[in-house]
Symmetry: C2
Subunit: 326 residues, 2 copies
């Protein structure tokens, strides 16, 4: 399976390293919007091309990993490159998935390719667990918690505040809320009751710390609905203790069965990830395998994790899977 | 979707009640090996037929739920009835799944039906989580824990001991082992280190309790490799506190990513079930929907949870799933 990577940020680098753990895949090209000669990858001997050359190389590629951002990159890139080869992205603007699906589906179908969108862990594995659990327990409640982990969006928001040199924000599930859900209590939880936010901020010399803290805690949409803690630290501390990109979370379904709905059940799925982009990349690489197989069988168009038979993700054949994993 | 139930033990009753939570299914018949008129079901107006009448009614049924035991019933029943209609079973003798698959596949294919085998939570949802997690994290370790829950096989083994009137056995994961796995410590765990066994025993009047306890604790295969606790209680206590059939368990995959395998990840899936048979039934009912759809699309033969695209389990269509669950 010949694969290529477009975009060399955290996700692209995660894909590059995940491919090395899957020896049925060969990385044959990087594509970049920068000047190709400026891109220093970790994989010797694999050419770096300009993004404008994708059309030319489409036929040589079984799967293109599109590692752009959901806000502006993917809505343009995924339908565009689905014309030239099979593609996969991690589009994660939940509200715009239906629109993205339609655009991508059209381009992929017209050109006989598969385009897998919204792959990763949320959307992705979390969505899948919501779906399975909802089908098994039709009468029940869903709960999703995120963290403990770094929110890139919230960290960026902190860094935009006047007087802030750098900062990292952690989203943390409230332990009591997790416990109540896990015990099947079916609590009704406000935004504030589900997660807290913890910020580590490096302020500029002489900045008004009280003002910065106030601006963070009252920031609409990002922080005002949460209990937020702000720690001012120095640059060395930030680098030493907060340079990773951990994340994770929990998906619960609690439901009832029985003629009188007398039996309670709790389904829980959780992730604890040292590296959010590398785990996301690992999910995407597994789905790339599945998508290429589906395309070889004649399927085309836009697909999501909901459409993929689990066996297609594996290098093992059906008999091996049944013997060893069932 | 017209469905029928063969076998009216705990699982059959669970299917009967799960169908009521899925209004796209209509229960049209019960089949039994007993005299049909002796079967008192909970669903008025649904006829009870002899198992020998399945052939006659096969054409009227979209799915037959086969609720027999794995030891002797299912190896005969599933291939036999797959000749007459789509069928689904919960065959759970892991070592014999490949053989069962071959027998069932042949019968189902020759007659244009789908036969879904080994459906439930283990095999079933646990298998599925092992598969997904192995594909995402190719370098890592798998751990499965069962409980806290009632093991029917171990309870039966206790009841076969001389002087035992009744008994229930709980399988319990060792909390320290769970914690070590959850922390990504990748422990090597012996049988004894993973689970303990707790027995509640009603002895016959005047029985030698010390001997019963010794016989339990030293019983080969069932108890000798475990730390086992034995409590002697009276019949009322057993009935009041131990008449349920709870179960559950945990599936973990711990793995590494990164160019230097420097990042650790933990995927955890767990179930906490008030009623083992009702939850198993709920999984089976969801997969019955999927199997009927796959058969309507022209697929035939033996299938497992590995072969089913998750979207097929749901009553919602693709657009609804993408809008609400992705």
């Amino acid at each position: 399976m010949k694969v290529a990577i477009l975009g060399y940020g955290n996700l692209g680098r995660g894909i590059e390293s995940a491919i090395r753990q899957n020896d049925d895949m060969e990385l044959v090209a990087f594509f970049t919007r920068r000047a190709p000669e400026t891109l220093k990858t970790q994989t010797a001997g694999v050419p770096v091309y300009s993004v404008s050359d994708i059309e030319k190389h489409g036929d040589e590629i079984d799967m293109l990993f599109i590692c752009g951002g959901s806000a502006t990159d993917l809505p343009k890139q995924t339908p565009e490159y689905a014309k030239f080869c099979n593609v996969i992205d991690s589009f994660d603007t939940h509200a715009k998935i239906p629109e993205h699906f339609e655009n991508v589906d059209k381009a992929a179908k017209e050109n006989g390719h598969i385009a897998m969108i919204s792959c990763g862990w949320d959307p992705g594995m979390f969505s899948l667990n919501r779906l399975y659990a909802n089908c098994i327990l039709p009468e029940g409640n869903d709960y999703t918690f995120w963290g403990k982990g770094v929110s890139q969006g919230h960290s960026d928001a902190i860094r935009r505040i006047d007087g802030v040199k750098d900062g990292k924000q952690y989203t943390i599930p409230v332990p009591e809320a997790l416990e109540a859900v896990r015990n099947g209590e079916n609590p009704t939880l406000s935004t504030r009751q589900k997660h807290t936010r913890e910020c580590f901020v490096v302020a500029e010399e002489g900045a008004d710390l009280a003002r910065i803290e106030r601006e963070i805690k009252t920031m609409p949409n990002y922080f005002d609905e949460y209990d937020t803690t702000v720690h001012f630290i120095n640059e060395e501390e930030l680098k030493a203790n907060h340079s990773g990109i951990p994340h994770g979370g929990f998906v619960f379904r609690t439901g009832v069965t029985g003629l009188n709905k007398e039996h309670k059940h709790v389904i829980e799925y959780s992730l604890k990830l040292d590296s959010n982009p590398e785990f996301t990349a690992s999910v995407i690489v597994a789905y790339a395998r599945a998508a290429v197989r589906m395309n070889k069988e004649g399927q085309t168009g836009c697909k999501t994790v909901f459409d993929v038979p689990p066996a297609y993700l594996s290098r093992l054949d059906g008999a091996e899977l049944r013997a060893h994993l069932l």
